[in-house]
Symmetry: C2
Subunit: 327 residues, 2 copies
């Protein structure tokens, strides 16, 4: 296992202009795991109830996803979410949210999980993200996602998470959407917002314990990856800004999980590869391509049937959209 | 003269978080001309009143812009527009619009202007755009811009303009923003909107008169260029989709005229160059770079002081933002 994914596991009921589905498997950890499974062997950490179909667990396993961290609460019910998308596929109305077993979720990592080098803290309560971060041993890469709800209601925890006081267990990259970036960075322009969020990740830290001294230690600044839906994605890193478009999709059916799929694709592609600026850019394209598949059908349906060859073609399309000769 | 630019000439009063200015020169034709003048010799066609400062005409000329088509109406007042931008620099409130001499504007091209090969019909009433199009002789390239007002109130004229029934005098590319594209194309997705707008440009046309026959003649489909402000630009052409990001500007002062500057930069760069798909893409980057300068100061101030070297650096920045290695 090369990628640990901690997040929500849900049964979603979704309506859009393309139809409706009831109790299909979803949740940030599930979307991210399916996407990552095209490139690496992810391990999923989440919680479900008695009602979570065993066939769904089998489907995850069939994709090479390690499900030992998928805790089943006896007598409990799985987290349920219902939503309806407007015609523009951007506006959405939450019809219901039943937290159920997710409400008391306390992720505990098994010893083998603690040693996984790459970690994706999918969108869950930042206190839980902090808790997971404390449990990992010596991660190579930690990426976290968040949402407007936490920026609004759990800002202190989120800031603590981003502050990176521990030199080993620290967030390397933060994923969020443009609205959330403006909210967290308190700026109208995304460039200004990214700059101010990056500052949240600057910590006067001590050197790793094994060095035995307490001098100030500089690390790479926090990498900010802003998802803009149909407008693509921007990455603000130490090497500068990278902008990737989204694939124009005339026939999106269900945008649920697109952001988590983006993250899973990105991290799955990065797993086992060097964390160079060039690879970060390629990983963004991998995530973008995966997200474009996600929205083509309800739930994880399209992701499940995906082959490496489909991915390759989609990435080529994306690269063709960005290609421009010398000037 | 290699590029004819027909549009509005205005005196603008603008307020933003960065300050306010009163009666500064503006209008679609002025922004486009200044931008184009970095690359070629544009000729501007527009109307002003007695109150239009002669020093402004001199400034245009100093940039190599031909101002013979700038009609001055004795006793008339120049078109005036006043607007205020919200903190996000996207929302704007129109404070006043005084059409003045612009209300009865009837552009008449001099014989030398009629032979200019590249034509930009900047954002004016589509009936006037049609009128100008009828006057040009044998254009190589005609690009037109439009806005929500005309889509709303003059749709039949706009459709006539886009229909391209005349094989010689026809629109090659349409420029509009994302909101306008969705409106004109009647679709929520930009890809679907672009497709439906392109269909508006399909005409069962006769071959050029000199061929002496009346068989159906196929031309290149209408090229659609969608401006998305801070999200960049998408071009839907016969060769596929191209997406260019915008430069992230933490300190925009005044977005007025950015779209016209984009168009002027694009067309100025294209003037005298082959209309290949690769050059269209490069032209989009040229327009993007010029628009990024436009917003850095009020009115045309930044454009006026611009050197080729500034442009080159900005294009390099933009290209660096888009660069990604093989995957």
């Amino acid at each position: 296992m090369s990628l640990l994914i901690v997040g929500s596991v849900a049964l979603d009921s979704i309506e859009s202009h393309a139809g409706r589905v009831k109790d299909v498997v979803g949740g940030s950890a599930v979307y991210a795991s399916y996407a990552a499974s095209l490139f690496t062997r992810p391990a999923i950490v989440g919680v479900v109830g008695d009602d979570f179909p065993q066939t769904e667990v089998t489907s995850l396993k069939r994709k090479g996803i390690d499900t030992q961290g998928l805790e089943r609460v006896p007598g409990g019910k799985t987290f349920r979410w219902g939503g309806r998308y407007a015609e523009d596929m951007i506006q959405r109305e939450t019809l219901f949210t039943e937290l159920n077993v997710f409400e008391t979720f306390q992720p505990t990592l098994s010893p083998s999980y603690r040693s996984i080098r790459d970690v994706f803290l999918a969108n869950i309560d930042p206190d839980l993200q902090l808790d997971v971060l404390r449990q990992v041993r010596n991660p190579r890469l930690v990426v976290c996602d968040t949402m407007n709800l936490w920026i609004d209601t759990k800002r202190p925890s989120l800031l603590k998470l981003l502050k990176r006081t521990d030199p080993v267990r620290k967030i390397d990259a933060l994923l969020l959407n443009d609205e959330e970036a403006r909210m967290l960075g308190d700026a109208a322009s995304l460039a200004a917002a990214a700059r101010s969020i990056a500052r949240l990740g600057v910590s006067r830290r001590t050197a790793p314990a094994r060095r035995g001294d307490a001098r100030l230690h500089r690390t790479e600044p926090l990498r900010i990856i802003i998802k803009k839906g149909e407008h693509g994605c921007m990455m603000f890193g130490p090497e500068g800004v990278f902008a990737a478009p989204a694939l124009p999709l005339a026939k999106a059916k269900d945008p649920t999980g697109a952001g988590d799929t983006f993250a899973g694709g990105m991290l799955g592609w990065l797993a086992g590869r060097a964390l160079t600026p060039a690879n970060w850019r390629r990983a963004i394209l991998a995530g973008t391509a995966m997200a474009s598949f996600c929205v083509e059908d309800f739930g994880v349906k399209r992701l499940r049937g995906l082959e490496r060859e489909d991915f390759r073609k989609r990435v080529d399309e994306l690269r063709a959209m960005m290609a421009v000769g010398k000037m």
